[in-house]
């Protein structure tokens, strides 16, 4: 019964959204990863800073460089192509950026991120970056479709390739951040134990691993679908 439902959903989806093949997924993830690498490279070579020496500026660099990449790329795969133009999807993504940042900042502060004037820019930049990894792709693709949001984030039940490409990296980033907070209370007295440095390391590690996993999933599903189709 479940399978039937899924197939039905797939059929519906095919009508409204561009399907993604494995190579495309891989390419998108590769570009996102490269964006991160460019951000770090630029931080090192143009500003001669890194995450430890100036976390705030580095984080800002990351989100500024990632922002156009993520929004422009994911807006291509928007739902309801008939009703929703490319520009509208981009606009949705841009709107989703601050909203997602708010949600992420709330989560981080509730889990114990320090509050204070000193930490404010770091927290803002960090949550904008998190927003790009988690919320923005979904806003660009789904808009305000509650059912899709719920399916991806509450049930973690991706069906199509694009679902995988949104769901898995977002969860990877969140789980990475959660584990990245672990070394913070230890008394090693290292500079990277400060908020949000090691959390950011966790986010990036989780995001990269999840992107690889997501490419793998899309590839697997693609082949299995083809087999089924035959």
């Amino acid at each position: 019964m479940k399978k039937k439902k899924q197939q039905k959903a797939k059929r519906e989806a095919k009508g409204s959204a561009a399907s993604v093949c494995a190579a495309e997924a891989f390419g998108i993830h590769l570009i996102c990863g490269l964006g991160l690498a460019v951000a770090f490279w630029a931080a090192r070579n143009f500003y001669s800073i890194n995450l430890i020496s100036n976390p705030s500026l580095t984080l800002r660099l990351i989100w500024v460089i990632e922002c156009p990449i993520v929004i422009l790329l994911y807006s291509h795969y928007r739902r309801n192509r008939q009703k929703c133009s490319y520009l509208k999807a981009v606009g949705r993504g841009l709107m989703g950026l601050p909203v997602g940042a708010l949600v992420n900042a709330f989560g981080a502060i509730a889990l114990g991120a320090p509050v204070g004037i000193k930490y404010l820019p770091k927290t803002i930049n960090w949550s904008l970056m998190m927003s790009l990894f988690t919320v923005v792709p979904a806003t660009s693709v789904f808009g305000s479709s509650w059912a899709d949001w719920q399916r991806i984030f509450a049930h973690t039940k991706p069906i199509e390739p694009i679902d995988y490409m949104i769901c898995i990296p977002a969860h990877g980033a969140i789980i990475g951040a959660w584990f990245g907070a672990w070394p913070m209370p230890l008394d090693w007295e290292r500079p990277w134990q400060e908020w949000p440095i090691c959390v950011t390391y966790g986010v990036i590690a989780g995001y990269l691993v999840a992107m690889v996993a997501s490419s793998g999933f899309v590839l697997l599903r693609g082949t299995s679908q083809r087999v089924k189709g035959d």
Binding site: G107, I109, A110, G112, V115, Q150, F153, P185, L186, D187
Partner: protein, 993 residues
């Protein structure tokens, strides 16, 4: 009927379960106490102070009972001199303590001199040593190698156990017999310069003092200058007999840069200069016939390569004992290679050198080379006195030991005969060794003439005494730190067994409940899966157990609990969002209700998250980052007015919130009104107390304040007890009149079902009011007891508890019950740390333990201290009564034929068993960790205090769960009885008609 048979069987199972649970808990308690007493041995210490009787043999009956208390200090001094037969060798003592100096730095290691830079750093001391003017020893210290216990060991000669340290945290003064008190008794005047630990240990003993704090470890210069600046003046003065100098700088140098720090050599040079200054001035004094001065340079402990200390490695225990200014020729000291003594040996040595009785609990042996300026019989007398003192201590520890009446008395030693070996039981060995030495001594004494020809015999006496002293001392000091392996193994095995069986019990109930619940097959698929929150609950425990092996995680445990309980809340939120689905599509009533319900769930989770975060920020907590800013520090800086207004605000809000929750949710019948009103009264009294008397908490509390607090205690106690006892009897009368907006309204109109449900309904509504009373009473008590700054966290705790109740009410059957109970329990522990508690004994609020107590009572203060420390876990466990009542138990009425006992089991099973199970997992795991870490550097400073906390929280969980279970069972029994009475009355009425 198959059902009745099943019912009987299940009630049998039910009683069996309760009985096995009790047995398991008893087993756990036994295992725990065995382990605790095996791991932290409490050695019996002799009370009292050594007096003139210490100069009499312990084997001879004490005949003199003169009242020695009214002796003046001068009389006492001459009495001691007369009795001891050893003239005091020195008039004045300068005790110079260099904190953390390893003896290796001065004396070298393994017979080799220290390295060149160190030799050059202390030229004067090294020249004293090489010319025989000074005698130095490696004085082996006993763990824990931290300052205060080591100072105690030096002045009392006793090795304290860990529990001595732990249980004396409210009185730091050294109450045992010690050198300084002995000196004080013979009229010595004492001056102390340096570490203020001495002032804490000996309050009011010093003529002059200048204490420095060792709080700022980064300061290596000022701490020592503050000591040395007085030195020139003090050395000129003649009004003191004992001068204590305690230099902290070297320890600070070690903490900053380790043994090889660049600052080390200059610091040693500074110390060397101090030695030089003192020594030249004492030579000057001696030349002016101002008496002999003995300079003793000691260190309390050594340090590791990194400059830390606390553990039991050679580097840390290698402390120094350096005697400068001895009168004897010590040329052969240079020849011998073995310069190792024990730190406790300093106490008897100094006592005998200065002519005071050896402290009662001393386990040390005199250092014989420091007595070589005395005549032979004086030296033997010193050995004899030391032996008598140790023999007395042995008699206290081994009740079977009494040498006076032993058969050895009759043994006749032949001339020159020697006992090559003493065999037999411990008592016999000690007795034999002692008698042997005493016999040789007396036979040597009897040869009055030409003693000098009996050189060989003299050394035989000395050897015999030393053998006894060493054996006794080693046994006594081992006893203070020895751990019986068998006991530990048995204790751990018992705890492990009980934990495993307890978990088995929980699993069994889990199966029982959920198998009974699975009515439709679609549920089966759902429950066969582990949900994320369930897996996380179990994972939390695993991660915690693993992280407890790291000392910094133990120190900063508060982060972990907050992190976990918050994450769990986020997972709950995710789960709540999952169920929103239908809300959008449907517009009919039930779906609207569903949406409403999710809204309540999410709202309460937001409350939990926000209040949890504020509480996390209230106290920084922990050990390493305590000085970082937090809300409590900020408020305290802002002034006491702000604190007070916040306190009043929280007090009022607690009252308003609790009354609102009672009258909105519960029904407003007469009895509930009475309960609410009396709670309001006690609340107002608490507010009155806060307004009037909170400022004078640290001043000696006035009579009226104490009376007011006692009234509050009495009122709160009466309300709580009265409600829990009387309420069940009144429940039936008002349950039928209950308004329909109550959460306990009956959803069905079927009268047949109604009758079945009524008992359950009564039980739930009675438990709600009782649980409410428990929570409110506990919060009000905490408002009185806790520090003023903690009143806001108490309010937030109440908010959290109520929010969890709302969440549990609306969550229905989405969760397994044990997950919710575990989440509430985690919340309680996170709250425990939010109230400013940590895993170090320093954060226990001792001041609060005397609020409202008119006379000193250890038991009452202990109970209050326990209540203050475990405010949050206890509140959470008490709230389980309310949890039972708000939890939707409609699934229980699926099977109408359930035994009433079984219903009780299902309602009570998880709220009681889950805290017990979680706690016993933590307890057992932590016991293992403590055993593994027994040789760890921080075993005394980090792991052992944490273990005491774990034990105390076990007691807290037991008490709380007992209260919950007793309340529920009692209420149920009363309601059952009333129902029977009603039925029989009904039947009688029928008959009558």
């Amino acid at each position: 009927m198959p059902f009745t048979g099943q019912g009987n069987q299940s009630s049998l199972v039910y009683f069996l379960l309760i009985r096995s649970l009790l047995v398991l808990l008893a087993l756990q308690m036994v295992g725990l106490s065995i382990f605790v007493f095996g791991f932290f041995p409490v050695k019996p210490a002799l009370s009292g102070v050594s007096g003139p009787e210490s100069y009499r043999s312990p084997t001879s009956p004490s005949n003199q009972n003169q009242s020695e208390k009214d002796l003046s200090s001068n009389q006492r001094r001459s009495l001691y001199q007369e009795l001891s037969g050893i003239p005091p060798s020195f008039d004045r003592l300068i005790l110079m303590v260099i904190d953390g100096l390893p003896a290796e730095f001065v004396l070298g290691k393994d017979g080799k001199p220290p390295c060149k830079t160190l030799m050059e750093a202390m030229p004067y001391t090294q020249s004293l040593l090489s010319t025989g003017m000074a005698v130095g020893y490696h004085a082996k210290a006993a763990p824990p190698t931290v300052t205060m216990p080591r100072l105690k060991a030096m002045v009392s000669g006793a090795i304290g156990g860990f529990l001595d340290v732990a249980f004396n945290f409210n009185t730091q003064a050294l109450l045992d017999d010690n050198l300084l008190d002995q000196f004080f008794k013979i009229g010595w005047k004492m001056v102390m310069l340096g570490d203020e630990t001495w002032l804490k240990l000996f309050p009011g003993l010093f003529l002059r003092h200048d204490g420095v704090s060792s709080f700022f470890v980064k300061d290596t210069v000022q701490v020592d200058q503050n000591v040395s600046r007085h030195l020139p003046n003090e050395l000129i003065k003649h009004d003191w007999d004992l001068l204590i100098l305690h230099y902290l700088g070297l320890d600070h140098v070690g903490h900053i840069g380790g043994r090889n720090s660049l600052l080390m050599a200059p610091k040693l040079k500074e110390m060397d200069d101090v030695v030089k200054m003192i020594h030249t001035s004492s030579i000057l004094n001696q030349a002016n016939n101002n008496g002999h001065t003995l300079l003793v340079v000691v260190s309390d402990h050594g340090m590791t390569e990194n400059g830390n200390h606390g553990g039991s490695s050679y580097e840390e225990t290698d402390s120094l004992a350096l005697f400068i200014g001895l009168k004897s020729d010590v040329s052969d000291y240079l020849l011998s290679k073995d310069h190792t003594v024990f730190q406790v040996d300093i106490a008897p040595t100094l006592a005998l050198l200065f002519g005071v009785p050896i402290p009662k609990n001393n386990v040390g042996v005199l250092i014989s080379r420091t007595f070589w300026h005395l005549t032979d019989d004086q030296q033997l007398r010193a050995l004899e006195l030391n032996s008598w003192q140790l023999l007395r201590l042995l008699e206290a520890q081994l009740p079977g030991l009494s040498c006076g009446s032993s058969p050895y008395d009759g043994l006749i030693y032949e001339q020159g005969s020697r006992i090559s070996k003493c065999n037999g039981s411990l008592e016999k060995v000690f007795c034999c060794l002692y008698m042997h030495a005493a016999f040789l001594h007396s036979s040597w004494m009897s040869k009055e003439v030409s003693r000098s020809t009996y050189r060989e015999e003299y050394s035989a006496v000395v050897a015999a005494y030393h053998e006894f002293l060493r054996t006794a001392s080693e046994w006594l000091s081992r006893r203070a730190s020895d751990r019986p392996v068998n006991l530990l193994a048995f204790g751990i095995a018992a705890m492990l067994l009980s934990t495993l069986l307890l978990l088995g019990l929980i699993f069994f109930i889990c199966k029982e409940v959920y198998v009974g619940e699975k009515q439709n097959p679609s549920d089966l698929k759902k429950t066969s899966w582990w949900h994320l929150d369930e897996a996380f609950c179990v994972g939390v425990i695993l991660i915690l157990v693993l992280s407890m092996g790291s000392s910094s995680m133990v120190e900063e445990e508060q982060y972990l609990w907050h992190f976990f309980s918050c994450t769990l809340n986020f997972l709950f939120m995710r789960k709540a969002i999952q169920s929103v689905q239908g809300g959008r599509a449907g517009k009919n009533f039930s779906l609207l209700k569903e949406k409403n319900r999710t809204g309540f769930q999410i709202g309460s989770i937001f409350m939990l998250l926000i209040s949890g975060r504020v509480m996390r920020g209230w106290h920084q907590g922990g050990v390493n980052w305590t000085n970082l800013p937090d809300i409590s520090k900020w408020l305290e800086q802002a002034g006491s007015d702000h604190v007070k207004s916040i306190q009043l605000f929280s007090g009022l809000l607690v009252i308003i919130l609790s009354l609102a929750s009672l009258f909105i949710v519960g029904s407003n019948t007469k009895f509930v009104l009475v309960v609410g009103f009396s709670s309001l009264m006690s609340g107002l009294l608490v507010i009155l107390h806060l307004i009037k008397h909170q400022d004078s908490m640290f001043a000696p509390s006035s009579y009226s304040a104490t009376l007011l607090v006692q009234t509050i205690y009495a009122l709160v106690g009466t309300v709580t007890l009265g409600t829990s006892v009387a309420l069940p009897w009144f429940t039936t009368s008002w349950i039928y009149n209950a308004s329909s907006n109550s959460i306990f309204h009956i959803s069905t109109s079927n009268p047949n079902e109604l009758r079945h449900k009524s008992l359950l309904l009564e039980l739930r509504s009675a438990l709600f009011v009782i649980g409410w009373t428990y929570i409110v009473s506990w919060c009000l008590l905490q408002l009185v007891l806790q520090q003023p700054i903690n009143s806001m966290p108490i309010l937030l705790l109440l908010v959290q508890v109520l929010a969890s109740m709302i969440y549990s009410f609306y969550s229905g059957l989405h969760h397994k019950q044990w997950v919710e109970v575990a989440a509430i329990y985690y919340l309680g522990i996170a709250g425990h740390f939010a109230l400013g508690n940590s895993n170090s004994l320093a954060t226990i609020d001792v001041a609060g333990a005397f609020i409202g107590i008119s006379s000193h009572s250890t038991v009452l203060s202990g109970v209050l201290m326990f209540m203050i420390t475990y405010a949050s876990p206890m509140l959470v466990i008490l709230s389980m009564v309310m949890y039972i009542s708000v939890k939707d138990s409609s699934h229980l009425s699926f099977s109408l034929n359930l035994e009433s006992g079984q219903i009780l089991l299902r309602m009570l099973g998880f709220p009681c068993l889950v805290p017990l199970g979680l706690n016993s997992i933590l307890l057992t795991a932590y016991t293992f960790i403590l055993l593994l870490m027994r040789n760890h550097l921080f075993v005394w400073s980090v792991f052992s205090p944490k273990y005491l906390y774990v034990c105390a929280s076990t007691i807290c969980v037991y008490t709380g769960v007992f209260v919950v279970a007793a309340t529920t069972i009692y209420t149920h029994l009363v309601l059952l009885l009333q129902k029977r009475m009603r039925i029989s009355a009904h039947a009688a009425n029928h008959k009558h008609f």
